[in-house]
């Protein structure tokens, strides 16, 4: 309640048009309007995974999506990745409707999903090799990306020889291989321990400042969402929907010190208040 008033100025209701904010910039890179996704469960009951989701994402924006399990955040990401189809509404990237996986979108899953029989280098090269590109240029790019995340000495190792954090770094390099305009990340650090997770957050921010991308980053950690994002999309379950969009007015570059600032605490507190103190439902507070 204390934070409620302080944050008010930076918070818009999701149902307001985004024009209030993005008036000056060009057309948004990703447009989501009236998005709806319904599933039929095995027992035959219909489930509304996403209901009336409206969101515009600008080029080079870092969007965090936070919410409890069942709020449809992963479904939203899978629709953006072209892995699933919406049952209603519109999703566009660069003006085109997303109907299938796109070459200019990279994705990182919660599990590193590396191919265990391929070396680190060969795993990173996978996306370009699938497009038939085996040039020296992509080889150089893969090696440069791997050295950038501190894995220059591991190119010929196999995934089982790496720790969880290192595997996820390889997965991030793989997602960046085709120089995507959009990077989708589905709780990429969710399976890592807290210490590794912080390191990976810093690493991701460093990478993002180097290779400017539009990032959609899904997490169930509020501090992680605030630390990384330009905006935090707060989602609620049953039906999955956006309950609020929070602008993170923290300067960049950010560091772990940012997390001890008063403003950081206020923003986290505000988001926490949206979920309500009585039912955290899997959100780490």
């Amino acid at each position: 309640m204390r934070t409620e008033n302080a944050v008010q100025g930076q918070v818009r209701r999701a149902d307001l048009l985004p024009s209030a904010q993005g008036a000056a910039s060009a057309a948004p890179l990703i447009q989501i309007a009236g998005l709806e996704k319904r599933f039929i469960t095995r027992s035959g009951e219909p489930v509304v995974a996403l209901s009336n989701v409206n969101l515009d994402i600008r080029e080079n924006e870092f969007i965090s999506v936070v919410g409890p399990s069942g709020c449809g955040k992963t479904t939203l990401l899978r629709i953006l990745a072209g892995l699933e189809h919406a049952t209603g509404g519109m999703v566009r990237a660069g003006g085109e409707a997303i109907s299938a996986p796109r070459d200019d979108v990279g994705i990182v899953f919660q599990q590193a999903t590396l191919l265990p029989w391929n070396t680190v280098l060969s795993n990173v090269l996978l996306p370009v090799q699938l497009k038939g590109d085996r040039s020296q240029a992509v080889m150089d790019r893969a090696k440069r990306l791997l050295s950038f995340v501190g894995l220059g000495g591991f190119v010929q190792k196999y995934p089982f020889e790496l720790s969880g954090g290192m595997q996820q770094r390889v997965a991030i390099c793989r997602a960046l291989m085709r120089e995507p305009r959009v990077l989708l990340m589905d709780e990429p650090f969710g399976a890592l321990d807290a210490m590794t997770r912080e390191t990976m957050n810093l690493e991701l921010m460093r990478l993002w400042s180097e290779e400017r991308k539009t990032v959609v980053f899904i997490t169930h950690s509020i501090p992680e969402a605030v630390l990384l994002g330009d905006r935090v999309i707060v989602m609620s379950p049953r039906p999955g929907r956006i309950s609020e969009i929070v602008d993170v007015d923290l300067g960049r570059p950010r560091s772990l010190q940012t997390m001890s600032s008063a403003r950081f605490g206020e923003l986290c507190g505000h988001i926490r208040a949206i979920f309500g103190s009585d039912s955290p439902m899997g959100v780490s507070l």
Partner: protein, 262 residues
């Protein structure tokens, strides 16, 4: 260094246990005058083993059985792999045929061995067929199960990076399936020996199974044991070969290995 020394110690313990066991067996046999007809002592079995080799009695039989096992194994494995891949590539074919194959598998193959003697005669062919048949099913099932075992997240990953069906097959589904396929091959290696010997029991003119029946008829129990040792040596060799191939081709399955870098 330490784990190495540890595993050497364990190996030594295992060997020592074996030696002590054999010594006790020998001592008990001599002490209680257990008849060779019931349970021959190890020294009697080793004696037979040596005399079979020296007299050359064993070789034609060993040769026949080894040929049956190898040809039967290869035939069973290749047909299991081919049919398994065909089933896995076509969901329709799988839906139509797989239930019948599972039903057939519940049939004890040993029970139809006599039919094969009628159809293919007393020579090598009938034994090869029995051996191939018992190898075929575990390989087929392992291929089908292997293709079903592809990780869903990995499939999503391939799809998200725009892989074609063929690319997904080559780069993901086949390597994933190898893990279970090699497990199937290991089982098949053991079953191939059983198939050949059972075929020989039913009707044969040569082979280690045939030799066992003959020796049994003459109440040469130490001889039977000696032949059993030959048979288990063949089985171990074939199984070891499969293990070796598995370690080489599915090298990433080393569950006991901790990550090299923490």
């Amino acid at each position: 260094m330490k784990p190495q020394a540890f595993s050497n110690m364990h190996r030594l313990q295992k060997v020592l246990f074996g030696i002590v066991f054999l010594a006790l067996w020998e001592a008990a046999g001599r002490l209680f005058h257990i008849s060779d007809l019931v349970l021959p002592v190890p020294s009697a079995i080793v004696g037979k083993l040596v005399s079979f080799s020296v007299s050359g009695l064993i070789w034609p039989h060993l040769y026949a059985t080894v040929v049956e096992i190898i040809v039967g194994f290869l035939l069973g494995v290749v047909s299991g792999l081919v049919l398994g891949v065909l089933l896995s590539l076509s969901p329709l074919v799988e839906r139509l045929i797989y239930p019948y194959i599972v039903a057939l598998q519940t049939l004890p193959k040993v029970a139809i061995a006599p039919l094969f003697i009628i159809w293919f005669g007393y020579g090598l062919t009938s034994k090869v067929i029995v051996s191939a048949l018992v190898c075929f099913f575990p390989v087929l099932v392992s291929v089908v199960a292997g293709f079903h075992a592809t990780d869903k997240d990995q499939l999503d990953m391939m799809k998200a990076f725009g892989a074609s069906k063929w690319q997904t097959l080559v780069r993901l589904r086949v390597p994933s399936a190898l893990v279970l396929i090699f497990a199937g091959l290991e089982i098949a290696a053991v079953l191939a020996v059983i198939g050949a010997v059972v075929g020989e029991f039913v009707g044969a003119q040569a082979g280690l199974g045939f030799l066992i029946v003959t020796l049994n008829f003459n109440l040469d129990v130490p001889g039977v044991f000696a032949v059993l040792i030959y048979l288990s040596a063949i089985g171990l060799l074939l199984h070891g070969l499969m293990r070796f191939a598995a370690r080489r081709y599915i090298f990433w399955i080393r569950r006991n290995d901790a990550p090299v870098v923490a």
